[in-house]
């Protein structure tokens, strides 16, 4: 909570000048993501909301790439920006689209205030979160988990990509379960839609 107080009073320690570390690219990406998220929530037309949501996912993918999480960025770009948008558009094509006069939804005050309180509560915890890319962050400097995987991946699995090594080798049984869940999702869609064939 000392960090939160420091943020609130504006007296950041000189060792971690958070604001000074934000580059122009990062700031514009963050602004893009926040604006598209707000537009998704407030758009009156569902088709507009779906399209803006795809743009939001693309911005998130670029942000993940910026933060050097390319595996997550690829998944976000392919699944969220691509496949989910296409499936939502297909669903919209099968429903009735209502013509609206206003572009934006009228703001529901209880929902907006609840979201505002949640946002403020999350903002209070920001001070205790280590800086992005900090070598002292527990999730990075933990010798038993992260550092162990980083040092042992090539020795034990002979591949360079630690993410894939964790998914396919160290946690292979979990990944098998996830793949079967994806398969079962397809079967469940067949059952729900009363079909016997996919195509």
């Amino acid at each position: 909570m000392t960090g939160a107080l420091a943020l609130a009073t504006g007296s950041l320690t000189p060792a971690s000048p958070v604001v000074a570390q934000v580059t122009a690219v990062e700031a514009s990406l963050l602004a893009f993501v926040v604006l598209t998220a707000l537009a998704t929530a407030l758009a009156r037309d569902v088709l507009a909301a779906v399209i803006v949501f795809g743009a939001y996912s693309l911005g998130m993918a670029a942000l993940y790439t910026f933060y050097r999480a390319p595996d997550v960025a690829l998944t976000e770009a392919a699944i969220s920006a691509g496949v989910t948008t296409v499936l939502l558009l297909l669903t919209l094509a099968k429903t009735t689209r209502i013509d609206h006069d206003s572009v934006f939804e009228s703001v529901n005050l209880p929902a907006a205030s609840a979201a505002g309180f949640l946002f403020a509560g999350l903002l209070l915890t920001m001070g205790d979160i280590p800086a992005i890319g900090s070598p002292d962050a527990p999730v990075w400097s933990n010798p038993d988990v992260t550092q162990w995987y980083l040092t042992e991946t090539y020795a034990q699995t002979h591949v360079e990509n630690t993410v894939m090594a964790v998914l396919a080798a160290f946690r292979g049984f979990d990944t098998f379960g996830e793949a079967i869940v994806v398969f079962a999702g397809g079967i469940a869609a067949l059952i729900v839609l009363h079909r016997e064939v996919f195509a």
């Binding site: 998944t75 496949v83 099968k94 002979h158 591949v159 990509n161 049984f173 793949a179 999702g185």
Partner: protein, 237 residues
Amino acid sequence: MSDAVDDTDMTDTVTDPGTDDSFDDAAADRDGSESELPPHRAAPRSGRLDSENRQGTPYTESQVIMPTVKVIAPFAFTFGLFITFHGGGSPGGGFQGGAIMAAVVFMIAFAFGIESTRDWLANTVVVALAVGGALAFAGIGLVPVALGGAFLQYDLLPIPILDPVKYGMEGVEIVGIAPIVSGVLMGLFFLLARGFNSEGDGFGNGSLDEDGSIDEDGSIDETGTLEGDAADAGGDR
């Protein structure tokens, strides 16, 4: 010559509605906004989600989208293959690569029509991808068990010359996860494009129909042989 004729027609049709629009707007203002929809809006349709006559998704041939997809699709598919095959050395893997390859099929379907893409990509391909991937993943996991090890113990895999751990993992990604993801995503796409089956030609043989719709059941049942045959022919594909 035909181009010139078309151009004059275009200009005529462009100039004419300029005068007509004012009349239409005035008429729409007088009648209320129900009479004329702007051209970018879909026409109002019935709210029933299960009626078979509106199961088809709208499709228009675009001279811009089709050549673009023709150019982009091979590269995007190669990118998906690259992401899948290079999961061990670079970001990505079977999940991401399979999703990209399925997205290529979505792209082709949006450019050339979902129904023709459905005919081109047979149901057997989609099912073989999903089921074959699941069986391959389970098989690679169970081979070490048969040899006395644990599930997915890659170093027991009988792979000659090559490194069994590395290529066992790559095998799981390439022939296991990527086909499952791409097959299931393509299947979801085609399923959603076709929509809910209210004819009862799925499983259950119409028992749901008898519970659901009340009045029109008799007429449907009397003509049910033709519809049933058509549905079976579609189902065998």
